[in-house]
């Protein structure tokens, strides 16, 4: 409970700071974002106090269904990201993980939630839905959490194929899941109309984010590095009371970028980086340094968003990139299937190439979360193909996302500085204004 209260206060402080003395270099719409974050924690705290059905994040794409079923959904991954500032909690979590025999070299975003659950920092869920839509370790950490809390769990399997057969397969499992949840969790009912409302909200959010994406792609990018490194969260990540506010945040974001471009209030862009996968959340100074050097981040490519808003694909009731009109349940399946985290390596690599071309990147930072079996194997292929096909430098640092133990910030900043110099030199060689090859559909 205490964590939620602290988060509510933290976001309220941020909101108050923006209202009293806004930083002109940061986005105004950040205020709306923090309000949504605050409201999310208020709703989660309220759900806990009122003993409402609660479950944990099940993987990419499933929130609309979980919310339509009546669950409050705990975004455990993002909550874990937030503990970076609490060094005592990180340290206790690390020690606990070692004593439990959990891997100390695995992705900390998947292992630290287990520590938090064991330490009593996370609330008891009603049930767990585990999937490999985000990655296999996410599936396993959800299984472990189900065991810790001794609650029923259901496992969803996301295939590597990205086609209509895969959508049908996942939709088949979702029908099974709905029946299972209604048997195992009191008070849960399924209403397809509610699911449609959630998907519709995500569609409108996605359309607005697509506009943001198009605006961020312009030269110069209107978003500085610090604001560029933010994981966008769909409307279905938020409670019903905040849903429309998050849709509107995306619209405000697009309007503000458009306004900035018109007024010339854009960073003094020297370089454009595609930043991939994730990053060291405990080192915001790295992005400040990038900003000072004139680096913008036209796209923070989490490799989940291609099928969501990067390409102009309408969702739910319209023709999608697989050439079909999906029912609401099939749309949930599509959102889970189209994420690259569960896909084959060549799909992953092609996705990064597409993004780098599409935003006319001068360099790619391919961050490898330490011990990530998804990003690490593809690292070499990404580096080789970006260099050979796009002719731009790639930097692939490997580090933990949550735990700063063993991390050397000065060394990291020094390497970033070298990378910036390299990109500037390569850009000069290419000649200012020479476009990359046009982006083909990935």
């Amino acid at each position: 409970m205490l964590w939620f209260e602290k988060e509510i206060l933290r976001n309220e402080r941020r909101i108050a700071r923006i209202e009293s003395s806004p930083d002109p270099t940061k986005l105004r719409c950040n205020k709306t974002f923090y309000e949504c974050q605050r409201d999310l924690r208020v709703a989660q705290l309220s759900a806990l106090r009122e003993n409402k059905p609660l479950t944990y994040y099940a993987g990419l794409g499933f929130n609309p269904l979980l919310r339509a079923l009546g669950f409050e959904v705990l975004d455990v991954g993002l909550i874990t990201d937030r503990i970076v500032g609490e060094t005592d909690l990180v340290s206790r979590s690390r020690d606990l993980l070692m004593s439990l025999g959990l891997p100390d070299r695995a992705c900390d975003r998947t292992t630290y939630p287990i520590a938090l659950a064991t330490l009593g920092e996370l609330p008891q869920p009603s049930c767990i839905v585990a999937s490999n839509a985000s990655c296999q370790l996410h599936l396993h950490h959800n299984l472990e959490i189900a065991k810790i809390f001794n609650v029923p769990y259901y496992t969803l399997d996301i295939p590597i194929e990205k086609n209509a057969a895969a959508i049908a397969y996942v939709a088949d499992q979702l029908r099974d899941l709905i029946a299972w949840v209604m048997c195992n969790v009191p008070g849960i009912t399924y209403d397809e109309e509610r699911l449609f409302e959630w998907l519709d909200a995500d569609r409108r959010w996605s359309e607005n984010l697509h506009q943001v994406y198009l605006l961020r792609k312009k030269k110069p990018c209107a978003v500085a590095a610090r604001d560029g490194f933010r994981e966008e969260t769909p409307a279905s990540d938020y409670p019903e009371s905040t849903r429309e506010k998050m849709v509107n945040w995306a619209r405000e974001y697009a309007e503000e970028l458009s306004e900035r471009a018109e007024q010339g209030k854009v960073p003094n862009e020297q370089l454009r980086f595609l930043w991939c996968t994730s990053g060291p959340h405990y080192h915001p100074e790295l992005f400040t340094m990038m900003e000072r050097a004139g680096v913008t981040i036209p796209s923070y490519h989490t490799c989940a968003t291609h099928g969501w808003y990067m390409v102009d694909c309408a969702v739910c009731g319209h023709l999608t990139q697989f050439g079909r009109v999906d029912s609401p349940l099939e749309e949930v399946a599509r959102l889970a299937v189209c994420g690259t985290w569960s896909g084959p390596t060549d799909f992953w690599v092609s996705d990064v190439l597409f993004a780098a071309r599409d935003v006319a990147a001068d360099g790619v930072v391919y961050f490898v979360p330490r011990g990530c079996p998804q990003t690490a194997p593809g690292q070499r292929l990404v580096v080789d193909r970006v260099r050979s096909e796009l002719g731009i430098p790639v930097w692939a640092p490997e580090a933990a996302m949550i735990d700063a133990g063993g991390y050397d910030p000065m060394r990291m900043e020094s390497m970033m500085s070298d990378f910036i110099d390299l990109c500037l030199a390569k850009k000069a060689e290419r000649g200012a204004g020479m476009p990359l090859a046009p982006a083909a559909e990935a």
């Binding site: 025999g101 396993h140 472990e144 590597i160 084959p344 060549d346 011990g371 194997p377 490997e398």
Partner: protein
């Protein structure tokens, strides 16, 4: 590459299945260009073998996606362009009616890919014959495992695993014939064991370098049973042919076979382990996970807690895929033997 790839289909397509073992070298200079040190060293070892040309005799590499790391290895191997076919079989992480249906379809697709490779059509009859052949292999291996239940086993644990290793690379017909002829001898044999207790069960995955098992035996522990994909898990379940579609029969066999930590069925894995401890009269369990085999390591708190509650002594020692640090391991095994002997 993976024990979830149906050997029956490979055989029916006129292709010889070969379990690819990774390099046992401790320096993997070629593979580490592609792979971080924070990844499963088994797959790094396999990539090293591939890059060194040791597996050039293969026509195809077949992986599965039950493991993100293995799927990543598939991508790298595919990019090398060395083999006629590099395939990743979509293997569900759980066994439910939808996943069974899907997996049956995936096996059918895999069959078509193999037909192109082997140039041989896979018919229902050829599949049935292949299933009978593989079931016979499993039956013979289980007969060997029965001998391990004896107070004084007739084979060392490392010897049994060598026999299973042979089954995974030899032509099945030849293997069945040779093991069938060997069995009567094995039934009467006395294993070179100066002791009868304590007895242990070794669990893990991809324990291809049997020096680890021999080390356990050297310190005086009888390796009475194993829970390994290159051991009991390979042969414990047959493919039951029934009236249903043959692809469904195969899907059922492979999704219900004794699975490892990569699958989501942790309770089933635990129940099987406890059952084997009892059936094989085992005093303790030794878990030998490969360093950075993260799905397996994620299961550790669950396994440790439940084995403790079941009153089963448990030792967990992380290791490299390649045999290393034998001195430290020997100390750990000796201490465990002392504990079991009390």
């Amino acid at each position: 590459m993976c024990s979830y790839v149906p050997e029956e289909v490979v055989i029916a397509a006129g292709v010889h299945p070969w379990h690819a073992v990774g390099s046992f070298e401790t320096r993997l200079s070629k593979a580490t260009v592609y792979r971080s040190v924070n990844l499963d060293s088994h797959y790094t070892g396999v990539l090293e073998s591939i890059l060194a040309g040791e597996l050039d005799f293969l026509d195809a590499v077949i992986c599965s996606n039950r493991d993100d790391d293995q799927r990543g290895l598939h991508g790298v191997v595919q990019s090398l362009g060395k083999f006629r076919l590099v395939y990743c079989l979509a293997t569900p992480h759980t066994e439910t009616p939808p996943t069974l249906r899907y997996f049956a379809g995936q096996i059918a697709q895999f069959t078509a890919a193999l037909e192109s490779l082997g140039g041989q059509k896979v018919t229902t009859e050829s599949l049935r014959q292949a299933i009978h052949l593989c079931n016979e292999t499993r039956r013979l291996l289980r007969a060997v495992y029965e001998l391990r239940k004896r107070r004084r086993p007739t084979l060392l644990g490392s010897e049994v695993l060598s026999i299973v290793a042979a089954a995974r690379v030899m032509a099945k017909r030849q293997f069945n014939e040779e093991l069938g002829q060997l069995l009567p001898y094995l039934e009467e044999r006395r294993a070179p064991l100066p002791y009868e207790r304590p007895r242990c069960l070794i669990t893990g995955s991809n324990l291809d370098d049997l020096r680890y098992v021999r080390l356990v035996e050297e310190v005086g522990i009888v390796v009475a049973m194993d829970d390994l994909d290159g051991g009991a898990r390979y042969c414990w379940a047959d493919c039951a042919l029934s009236e249903e579609d043959i692809m469904t029969s195969l899907a059922k066999r492979y999704l219900s076979l004794p699975d490892d930590a990569r699958q989501a069925s942790w309770e089933r894995q635990l129940a099987r382990l406890i059952n084997w401890v009892s059936e094989f009269n085992v005093d303790g369990v030794i878990d030998l996970p490969i360093l950075c085999s993260f799905p397996r390591e994620m299961r550790t708190p669950f396994l440790t807690k439940n084995l403790e509650e079941a009153g089963i002594f448990f030792l967990r020692v992380e290791r490299d895929y390649q045999y290393a640090q034998s001195g430290q391991l020997r100390n750990r095994f000796e201490a465990f033997r002392e504990m079991l002997s009390r």
